[in-house]
């Protein structure tokens, strides 16, 4: 399947292991990715807070570039925040031809235009896995079932709310997909309080206490539920849950030390890739315990 691919900012910034693991995993899933390397930031909610027309123009430009990729089934993103921020813009652009024309007027000098096409979509890798590839096809591709690995899903707010904007009427189980993927690749999904709560990242500069209490609390809940690791489709969540984890520990006054995988890393492990190929050494919280379990699986 050919896809226009928007990697986002953070996957090429502070979570390079995410961008790298998508590159490794895509061919194994028969995904032919055409990277949109001229597209700009989705705005992550902040540009929307600043100016709606501006964020809609930036994302209309990205959508237009994606629509121009010949033979692409749609556009793929790898970040919950990109998904939510872009869906918000797409909802407005699709709702009014007059507004869309106004926004498109800014794209004219580049001969670009976002057209409302009923069947055109922009989906996170998670949605692609379940809706386009399918859980059965994924199950068939598994080379190393993650047998016995207890994985706690962490969705990221932007990919689960608001359900009305995010296509839950057509796909009501979008807030169950991570669990479904974990089970399809042989792991065990851990049920805990924080899976669909906020990681706290958006307020890390404004209120460090609130931000790290949120991250710390969800990590602690996952540990208490017996998780070996967390998995997230959102690199911004990853920043707060992994990179800030040592700091978060002091805000909840307990030890944490639980690894956080990116979704493509987890899928890559099941498809037979090695932890090193998936950049699992580039995490702040060591992934060695997960790696050890994976090595035992290989030996068994």
């Amino acid at each position: 399947m050919k896809l226009a691919y928007w990697p986002g900012c953070v996957s090429r910034g502070f979570t390079p292991e995410l961008h790298g693991s998508v590159a490794k995993v895509a061919p194994l899933l028969d995904l032919d990715l055409v990277e949109l390397d001229r597209a700009a930031c989705c705005g992550a909610g902040v540009v929307a807070e600043h100016n709606q027309e501006l964020v809609d123009a930036l994302n209309a430009r990205t959508f237009a570039m994606a629509q121009a990729v010949e033979g692409a089934a749609g556009m793929m993103n790898i970040c919950s925040t990109c998904q939510g921020a872009q869906s918000e813009c797409q909802e407005r652009l699709d709702a009014s031809p007059e507004y869309r024309a106004e926004v498109n007027s800014h794209l004219k000098p580049e001969s670009l235009s976002y057209e409302r096409q009923g069947d055109w979509w922009n989906k996170n890798f998670l949605w692609i896995l379940v809706e386009e590839i399918g859980l059965d096809a994924l199950r068939d591709k598994v080379k190393r079932p993650l047998d016995g690995l207890r994985i706690a899903p962490f969705y990221g707010c932007y990919i689960v709310r608001p359900t009305k904007r995010l296509g839950f009427d057509q796909h009501p189980e979008r807030d169950q997909y991570i669990e479904q993927v974990i089970e399809a690749i042989g792991g065990e999904a851990v049920d805990y309080a924080g899976a669909r709560k906020c990681c706290g990242f958006p307020v890390i500069t404004m209120n460090r206490t609130t931000s790290l209490r949120q991250a710390g609390r969800h990590l602690a809940d996952a540990i208490d539920a017996g998780a070996d690791c967390l998995v997230t489709p959102c690199p911004l969540c990853h920043l707060n849950l992994d990179m800030q984890q040592p700091a978060a520990a002091s805000y909840v006054e307990r030890d944490l030390d639980i690894p956080v995988l990116h979704l493509p890393q987890m899928v890559g492990l099941a498809l037979g890739l090695e932890p090193k190929e998936l950049g699992m050494g580039k995490h702040v919280v060591s992934t060695r315990d997960v790696q050890r379990k994976i090595a035992q699986l290989a030996a068994a």
């Binding site: 909610g45 807070e49 100016n51 027309e53 031809p97 707010c157 932007y158 307020v203 609130t210």
Partner: protein
């Protein structure tokens, strides 16, 4: 008629006992409400169950609870739908979150919700004498802008669901901030700037919203409190240039400025620029900014140690190949006299019905 299983959270503080779950069976057609189910149990099995309700038509806002963990009005939730979403078909009903429980499903709205509503001065501070001999009305264009915030029925569902308040009970919260926008968007009010400056300066004010969309998801009246909070911020920074000590102004300036400059986010500069009201130099020289930078330093060092961040990446950030075009878009849009906004609450959001949707310019120039 169908049979449903209700699992109610019971608690009586005067008993000295801990809260517990109680199971009940009810018989109702699926289109009836969860409230109808609770009232049937109260009527037939246990009259001591505490639930607050009045209109049963999603107008009075009294019966806010959490159904299967999600904040909602009990009268506005079909029992058949709730059973479909409940684990193994069992419908759990708990009191709202983020508030003390008075008894069973009744929460203390006064202790949290109303206290916070009063915090934002929820009345008009007129900028001029009301005209004599006629009603003092809001012009129609401005009404479009505040109608959404005015639709609030004070049920507290958003307060119950707020994930920021869950870790910071002092956060002013979604309902009160939506109420604040109702007056900040009202042209008759004469205290827009003072209101915004107050909410920006508060350590638990409008910059503590974490963009989690929980309030938007649960609101039975589509007030979208988080969208109103974003409007407060937009006016505070864009129209009044209000600089606060919480880095709210700095964060927006820094983020937007970096995208204008590079096209994608230069993460290494986001923190110092945010701490320096958007300026990299101020962020690395002003004592308060430096203190915050030092606090974040261990995180950066850990990033460098693991190879997540390289010194090169921290210092240099590539511009997009067509960054000139991105800058042109920024310039074009910033040069507008009015911000162009499309509020789907007003124009409708059914893509099949394109006729009614038109863009409304915001009222602030």
């Amino acid at each position: 008629m169908a049979d449903y299983k209700l699992k109610l959270r019971r608690f009586d503080p005067e008993s000295g006992n801990a809260a517990y779950w109680a199971d009940f069976d009810v018989e109702l057609p699926p289109e009836r409400s969860v409230l109808d189910g609770i009232l049937q149990v109260k009527d037939r099995e246990d009259a001591s169950i505490g639930i607050r309700c009045s209109c049963r038509a999603a107008i009075c806002g009294s019966c806010g609870v959490r159904i299967n963990g999600k904040s909602a009005l009990a009268c506005n939730t079909r029992i058949g739908d709730a059973a479909e979403r409940g684990r193994d078909g069992v419908i759990t009903v708990e009191p709202m979150g983020n508030m003390p429980v008075i008894k069973d499903l009744i929460t203390d709205m006064e202790a949290v919700h109303w206290k916070k509503i009063r915090r934002v001065v929820p009345w008009l501070l007129p900028k001029e004498e009301a005209p004599e001999g006629r009603e003092y009305i809001v012009p129609a264009e401005a009404m479009l802008d505040v109608t959404q915030a005015m639709a609030c029925i004070q049920c507290g569902a958003c307060v119950s669901a707020c994930l920021s308040m869950e870790v910071d009970p002092e956060f002013i919260g979604p309902a009160a901030l939506a109420k604040a926008y109702r007056f900040v968007g009202d042209p008759r009010d004469g205290a827009h700037e003072e209101r915004l400056a107050d909410l920006a300066a508060d350590e638990h004010g409008m910059y503590d919203c974490t963009h989690c969309f929980a309030c938007i998801e649960v609101c039975p009246k589509e007030v979208a409190p988080m969208s109103q909070i974003m409007r407060l911020r937009r006016k505070a920074t864009g129209d009044y240039g209000i600089k606060d000590d919480n880095n709210g102004y700095g964060h927006e300036k820094a983020f937007v400025g970096l995208i204008e400059k590079y096209g994608t986010l230069h993460e290494a500069q986001l923190l110092p620029r945010s701490f320096g009201q958007g300026s990299l130099i101020r962020g690395q020289t002003e004592p308060k900014a430096v203190k915050q930078l030092v606090e974040s330093l261990p995180t950066g060092v850990r990033g460098l140690r693991t190879g997540k961040i390289t010194p090169r990446k921290a210092l240099l950030h590539p511009k997009l190949p067509d960054q000139k075009q991105v800058r042109r878009i920024f310039k074009e849009i910033h040069s507008h006299d009015e911000r162009l906004e499309l509020n789907l609450y007003i124009v409708g959001e059914n893509p099949a019905d394109e006729e009614g949707a038109t863009a409304e310019g915001s009222q602030e120039s």
